[in-house]
Structures are given as structure tokens and as C-alpha cells.
């Protein structure tokens, strides 16, 4: 589905990362994606997105959070991958939590929300 949706103007260069992270809908999926990624890939994604968080959210701020157009929704999902990737890059210096089983799934439920 995401193949037919493009990132908003000005963010086209994030397309390679949108292809990976933009298709993930939940934090559980993002946690698994982080575990299955290499540090090289995580670092490239981090370097491309982390410095642009302000620009990304300045753009997204123009839309109602419950009714993002498809392009903006893709951009937002792409940015959300950074919540997991930042743990790998900024905290652990490795994709996985040390000593944890692999792959490690954890159920996450946001109570009665969205």
C-alpha cells in the first residue's frame, strides 16, 4: 500500500527509510525491526532523521493528528521508527538489549486510545 504513497514535498530523500519503517504500524513491530537491523542501517536512518525531527513535526503540526493525509501519515510512521532506533544508537550502541532473548517480542497496549 505504501508503495503508492509518496512522502510530502521536502522529505522525498527519506524514501529509503520510509520503505522500511513507514510500513510499520505498531511499537511492537518497530521494536522487532530494530532488533533485526544492522547498526550500519540504523545509523544511516538515525543520521537522516534525528537532525530533522523539528522539521518533520513542524510540517506535521499543520494537520489534525487524527486525520493525517496519507503522505503525512507515512512521514510520521517513518519518524516513529526513531523512538526505537535512538535506543540502539544513543544508549546501547547495538541493536538489541544486551542479554535479552532474540527475537524478543513484547505486547504493548495503549489503553483506549486512538
Amino acid at each position: 500500500m505504501t508503495e503508492s504513497v509518496n512522502l510530502p514535498a521536502g522529505f522525498e530523500d527519506l524514501a529509503p527509510y520510509a520503505a522500511v519503517w513507514g510500513s510499520l504500524e505498531t511499537q511492537e513491530e518497530r521494536y522487532l525491526q530494530r532488533q533485526h537491523s544492522t547498526m550500519k542501517d540504523l545509523k544511516a536512518y538515525y543520521d537522516a532523521t534525528a537532525p530533522r525531527l523539528n522539521a518533520i513535526f513542524d510540517h506535521l503540526d499543520q494537520f489534525p493528528m487524527d486525520a493525517l493525509p496519507d503522505s503525512e501519515a507515512l512521514l510520521y510512521r517513518t519518524a516513529l521508527g526513531l523512538t526505537e532506533t535512538a535506543m540502539a544508537i544513543e544508549v546501547f550502541n547495538q541493536p538489541r538489549v544486551p542479554y535479552a532473548p532474540f527475537p524478543h517480542k513484547m505486547a504493548i497496549e495503549w489503553n483506549e486510545y486512538r
Binding site: 511499537q27 521494536y31 538515525y46 534525528a50 537532525p51 525531527l53 523539528n54 513535526f57 506535521l60 503540526d61 493528528m65 510520521y76 519518524a79 516513529l80 526513531l82 523512538t83 526505537e84 532506533t85 535512538a86 535506543m87 544508537i89 544513543e90 544508549v91 546501547f92 550502541n93 538489549v97 544486551p98 542479554y99 535479552a100 532473548p101 524478543h104 517480542k105 513484547m106 505486547a107 504493548i108 497496549e109 495503549w110 489503553n111 483506549e112 486510545y113
Partner: protein, 413 residues
């Protein structure tokens, strides 16, 4: 603090000399069966918040793996919250299949026996064929329920040996009026792990491991220079329950760009709201039962409710952990992160997702160690584990665990 070490409660200060604890408690199927009968069928067990069922007709279904119990918790038309076993009186079907909802009746999908929201049986199709069934006494089987500070507790005994206030033994008084209700929004994280549940209980009852196991996650934010082994301070005990004050490193100044950006959008639950504290509206920080020492770099009060709960009030929310044994070598961990409100913007939602990932990773570190610990226990080379003077709450938990297994613990001599 004139002298912090005076407040580092040692096991000897609490008269606890049980520094060697049998590994068997953590590996034996027989001990697990005794835990089911003597602890989990006797103690009051926390299962949720009353605000999960705010309106008449609201219900939730919870499964408690330790007792293999499926429980319906429902608020009646009269406003009263009740709990029932989720089992039809006809032929036992767990009839409430949605995890939550609002209804005035429950209808069994097998033969359409119908129950009211208060659990009473209202209709039996072809009732003339069940002349031996007394409708008045054939409702859903009730479970004793009481609440404290908005937390719902159940007791699975035929008749509880103690009331909930008696069971809480003064912990409830110390925390009287603590503003849990100010933090209604919850994210819940659950996982099942191959380890004994008490491994996790113990991990939350000592700070000794924080600088080592959590060296990359918690340590920079939490461990202050003056308390490098993060000894809990001012340990308080109430029957088998306890609370200990934990510091925070107020010099913590994260430089990592993504993390710093998150802090700028919304204060994570675990971070002190310094502006709010200065303005005197700091939630739990103002409560007289929390941080009794008034240490300036207060982090949290680790509150343990026997047998399987840890609550950590923070300036900007609270964390709730619960540890359910499934058998002697497997358990379910449930983590709930409570905050003031649901995210109102995408920035806040992103910040919450980021905080969630960070909190989860810390718990994953604890769970990873608990699993390795179980492997070591089951290898069979050691008959005992060692609890230090700096691990008084582990010794206390063990003392009260043993008392429960012997049929004591709930106020009996």
C-alpha cells in the same frame, strides 16, 4: 542530607539474618503449588483500577495466569464494582469474550443463559427443563473485591482471612490521599519470560544492580555520586509490604539529540518536573508519606505490595509492575506507565512512544537477568543464593513468603 549513610537501611537494622535462601524456592514445582494455595489464594491481589470501569455497565475481563482464573470486573447499575469468575452456571463457558465493554447483561454464546451486570442469573431458555436450578443462587460465582486508592483488589479465598485495610497493614495509611487518580492514562506492556516470578520481585527490591546492569540506561539518570550502589533509603515496612526511597541524579543532563528532543516535547514520566516541584504542584512529591527524608534529589519511592506488585510514583506519573507466576520456571510481567493524559499532539505521542521504548528496555534488562538467573538456578550447582546486608527487602520478602507458606502472614500470630 547531613549523613546519607545513616538512612541506608541494612538487613541487620531490620533484624533480618536470613542471608542464605534456598534455590529450591525458585525451581520446585511443589513450591509453586504451595504458592498458589498459600499465597495467591489467600492474599489480596491487585488487578486494575476502578477508573477502568467508570460508568454503570462498564466491564473488563482479566486473566490471572497464576490461578488460571478468568475474571469479569463490572460496575453495576447501582455504581458498585463487582468481580465474578467468567464461567456460565450451566456448563462452564467463559461467556464474556470481549476484553472490555459496556453492557447491562451477559449472554452465554453456547445456550443463551443470561446474567445481569451484577452477576445474577436472569434467564434460562427452556427453563422448564432445569427445575433443579435455583436461579436466585445460580449467578456468576462472585470473588471478594475491595479497592484502595482506586486500585481494585481481589481475594480468592472463600472467606478472606483479613480485610483489605488489615492486609495493607498501614501502607494504605502512609499513602492516604496519594494522587494516583491524577494520572489516568496508561500504556501497558506485557511479556512472558522463562524465570521464576520472585527473580523479578527481587530485582525491584534492591538498587545494588542499577549501576551495573543498567549502566547504559538508568545509571546516568538515577545513580548519584554520593550513593554509587544506589542503596535504598529510609526503608519502611508494613506487614509484608514495604517502601524505600530512591534518589535520582539531578546532574543528569542528556546530550543525545533524539532523547533531548523528546524531553523538549513532553517531560517523560520518569523525569522530575523541576518547575512543577518549585511551584508546589508536584503530584506525589508533595505527599507526606513519600520522600519522608526530604532528600533534595528524590527519584522515587519503590513501593512493594506483597506478593507481586511494585509501584514507583514519579513527579510526572507513576510506574506499576506486576509479576504473575505461571509455573515455577515461567512468569508474566506486566508494566503499566501512567501519565496525566493521553497524548494531545503528535509530538506528545512521539515523546510517549519514545519514553515507552526507554522504560521497556530497562525492564527488558531486568527480565534478561532474571532469565539467566533461572538458567543458573536450574543448572543445580548451587543450593542457595545470597542476600546481602544491602538487600534487606529481599530478606524481608523471603521471611514473609515463608510465613505465608506456613499458613501465617495475614495477621495471624
Amino acid at each position: 542530607m547531613a549523613n546519607l549513610s545513616e538512612h541506608m537501611t541494612k538487613a541487620r537494622d531490620m533484624g533480618l539474618d536470613n542471608g542464605r535462601v534456598p534455590v529450591e524456592y525458585y525451581t520446585s514445582a511443589d513450591y509453586f503449588r504451595r504458592e498458589q494455595d498459600m499465597i495467591f489464594r489467600r492474599a489480596w491481589l491487585m488487578v486494575g483500577r476502578v477508573d477502568e470501569v467508570p460508568e454503570p455497565g462498564d466491564y473488563i475481563v482479566r486473566d490471572l495466569p497464576t490461578l488460571k482464573a478468568s475474571v469479569v470486573i463490572a460496575r453495576g447499575k447501582d455504581g458498585k464494582v463487582r468481580a465474578f469468575h467468567n464461567a456460565c452456571s450451566h456448563r462452564g463457558v467463559a461467556l464474556v469474550c470481549q476484553e472490555r465493554g459496556n453492557a447491562m447483561t451477559f449472554r452465554c454464546p453456547y445456550h443463551a443463559w443470561v446474567y445481569r451486570i451484577d452477576g445474577s442469573l436472569s434467564a434460562i431458555p427452556a427453563e422448564q427443563d432445569f427445575p433443579h436450578v435455583d436461579k436466585a443462587t445460580s449467578g456468576l460465582a462472585p470473588i471478594h473485591l475491595d479497592s484502595w486508592a482506586g486500585f481494585i483488589f481481589l481475594n480468592f479465598a472463600q472467606e478472606p482471612e483479613a480485610t483489605l485495610p488489615q492486609f495493607l497493614a498501614g501502607l494504605d495509611q502512609m499513602l492516604e490521599g496519594a494522587p494516583f487518580e491524577q494520572f489516568p492514562f496508561c500504556i501497558r506492556v506485557t511479556d512472558e519470560i522463562d524465570c521464576n516470578w520472585k527473580n523479578l520481585v527481587n530485582a525491584f527490591n534492591e538498587g545494588y544492580h542499577v549501576a551495573i546492569l543498567h549502566s547504559k540506561t538508568l545509571r546516568p539518570a538515577v545513580v548519584p555520586k554520593e550513593n554509587p550502589h544506589l542503596h535504598y533509603l529510609d526503608v519502611k515496612h508494613f506487614g509484608p509490604h514495604s517502601a524505600g526511597t530512591v534518589q535520582r541524579n539531578f546532574d543528569y543532563n542528556p546530550q543525545a539529540p533524539a532523547l533531548t528532543w523528546v524531553y523538549a516535547q513532553m517531560l517523560p514520566t520518569s523525569a522530575p518536573d523541576i518547575a512543577a516541584i518549585e511551584e508546589g504542584r508536584a503530584g506525589f512529591y508533595e505527599h507526606p508519606g513519600i520522600n519522608r527524608l526530604k532528600i533534595p534529589n528524590f527519584g522515587t519511592e519503590t513501593i512493594t505490595i506483597f506478593p507481586n506488585i511494585s509501584i514507583q510514583p514519579l513527579a510526572n506519573g507513576y510506574l506499576f509492575y506486576q509479576f504473575w507466576p505461571i509455573n515455577e520456571g515461567r512468569m508474566r510481567t506486566e508494566v503499566r506507565i501512567y501519565s496525566r493524559h493521553a497524548p494531545r499532539t503528535l509530538r506528545e505521542e512521539y515523546a510517549m512512544a519514545s519514553t515507552l521504548a526507554a522504560t521497556r528496555d530497562v525492564v527488558v534488562e531486568d527480565m534478561a537477568m532474571s532469565r539467566l538467573q533461572q538458567i543458573g538456578f536450574e543448572s543445580g550447582g548451587k543450593t542457595h543464593q545470597q542476600f546481602g546486608q544491602n538487600e534487606p527487602l529481599l530478606r524481608m520478602f523471603t521471611r514473609d513468603y515463608e510465613a505465608y507458606l506456613q499458613g501465617k502472614g495475614m495477621g495471624q500470630p
